[in-house]
Amino acid sequence: MAQNVLAFSEDRELLIQLLGKGKELADSLGGELNALLVGSNISDSGELAQYGSKKTLVADGPGFEHFSVEAYKAAFLKAVEASDPGIILIGATKRGKELAARVAAALDTGCMTECMTLEVDEEGNLVSERLTYAGSTIATEVSRRAPHIVTIPSRAFEAPEPGEGVGEIVTLDVSIPEPRVKVVERREKTKGDVDLEGAPIIVSAGRGFKAKEDLKILEELAEVLGAKVGCSRPISADMGWMDDWIGISGRKVSPKLYLACGISGTIQHAAGIRNSQILVAINEDENANIHEISDYSIVGDLYTVLPALIKALKEKLG
């Protein structure tokens, strides 16, 4: 049975990624790919046809200037009416996730959150892989009832190249409910202050450090590398040497370089650092799990390795 696909994200880059995957799904199901745009004074709705959107459904009005889950839900339900989707793809931003759950509840259907993969099985069900257990495991889940709703994080799927696609623009007539949540202030976040989550280089301390003062060696290394300093759970939760830890129920990081010093590498810590591009470990225990999950590691005492590494890096980096 043919199934249409409906894609939405308030983040345009992410929406285009969804259209790429959405086109593939719609083609395989013999259905049509449609996109929803919600906002105020939308001027670029024509753009989406070149990414495969057959019908671009537009809800435009002053009530949509800022995201409100109730208003956007009202627009979404209109779009569902107008395009009869079997699969609904929503960008997994914070706003997208709350909208998806709310729309799913309104449509009395299931929802799979932050899907990294999507596939239609022989029975026409939607199968996805997503992180569970605080990111330490990957669950394969199946949605057995249409419309299937999924949220998709940024960069799970590649953005397609723009093509010659032809589509139409359909204006949705949405009556916006009286907002019950009143926004009294919006404080822009400062982007300059890079926190651990956004840091490109992180050096991190584990139980291999014997005293708080010894963290100075790590800080020196951080300075040489231009890195942020993090730690594993025991250093923060048990010793109280730092405010926050990396790993399960702590921060999840995705730096280009992560240097784990004296960290054993429990699955809880591993889950927090898995998205690191290059993982380096220094740990004197040759059986420590961190060596198994690293790109480069040295089995050695951090108290001698770190000063030598600082010296070597200084020489290399000038």
Binding site: V69, T132, S136, I138, G300, A308, A312, K316
Partner: protein
């Protein structure tokens, strides 16, 4: 006086959970169960709101046989009563079915001003139950809350979004989800732990909240097929050298040649 229902889920203690190296499946049996981290922060929020005025904190959980013990921690922290929906026929249902059951339960508890929970539970990471509940109850939802205060019949909260902090006001009753930044949960005193055992706890099955377990189960449409730790795809190069200096120099060389230091 505010009556606050806190949604709590007990999950395996993630700091104790291991992965079977052969099957790569998580080993959850025999692992202690605890209240999921963000739910615990929602509870702390509720208790603080109660302490800043007057009120009552009611813990509500859909769980299993271990939930009663896990919820003792909630009562020790300061919840006044606990309700547990424990029905074997509901095991493994999805967020849709869970929110239907919780809706029925909060309606049975009744007369609430605020329903509060964590943004998501750390086992499923689905982040659906709070918005779904708001939809089913037709109540306003305030998600990603990192600061909150209660006024007369209304609440004011700061929402932590990607690009902005949004300050919002909403009339009660409302449904709220908190993020990690909202607070640090308290550690209960020994005396409060002792007292917790004497606080009222009630267990319900689906029928007790006016639902048919079969119907609820049939409405569940998302199923977990399997759960596995990911394969590690790393170079796993162990640098060996005669001296620490040589090893460090090789490592420095490797780091530089990976090109990850470029600004």
């Amino acid at each position: 006086m505010a009556r606050i229902i806190v949604l709590l889920k007990d999950i395996v203690d993630l700091t104790e959970m291991k992965v079977d190296p052969e099957t790569r499946q998580p080993v959850t049996e025999g692992v202690k169960r605890r209240i999921s981290e963000l739910d615990k922060r929602a509870l702390e929020t509720a208790i603080q709101l109660k302490e800043s005025g007057e009120g009552e904190v009611i813990a509500l959980s859909m769980g299993g046989s271990g939930t009663r013990v896990a919820l003792l921690a909630a009562l020790a922290m300061g919840a006044d009563a606990a309700y547990i929906i424990n029905d074997e026929a509901l095991a493994g249902v999805d967020a849709l079915a869970t929110s239907k059951v919780l809706k029925a339960a909060v309606e049975k508890i009744g007369d609430y001003d605020l329903i509060i929970g964590g943004e998501m539970t750390l086992d499923s990471l689905s982040a659906q139950v709070i918005p779904r509940l708001a939809e089913l109850l037709d109540l306003p939802q305030v998600t990603y809350v990192k600061e909150i205060e209660l006024g007369e019949g209304a609440l004011r909260a700061v929402r932590d979004l990607e690009d902005v902090d949004e300050v919002v006001e909403v009339d009660l009753p409302a449904v709220v989800a908190v993020v990690r930044e909202v607070n640090e949960p308290r550690i209960p005193s020994l005396m409060n732990i002792m007292k917790a055992k004497r606080k009222p706890t009630e267990e319900w099955d689906a029928e007790a909240v006016g639902l048919s377990a079969e119907e609820v189960k049939a409405s569940s449409s998302v199923e977990i097929l399997n759960v596995m730790a990911p394969k590690v795809d790393r170079k796993r190069i162990v640098i060996k050298a005669d001296t620490v200096e040589d090893a460090a120099a090789q490592l420095a060389e490797a780091i530089v040649s990976e090109g990850v230091l470029e600004r």
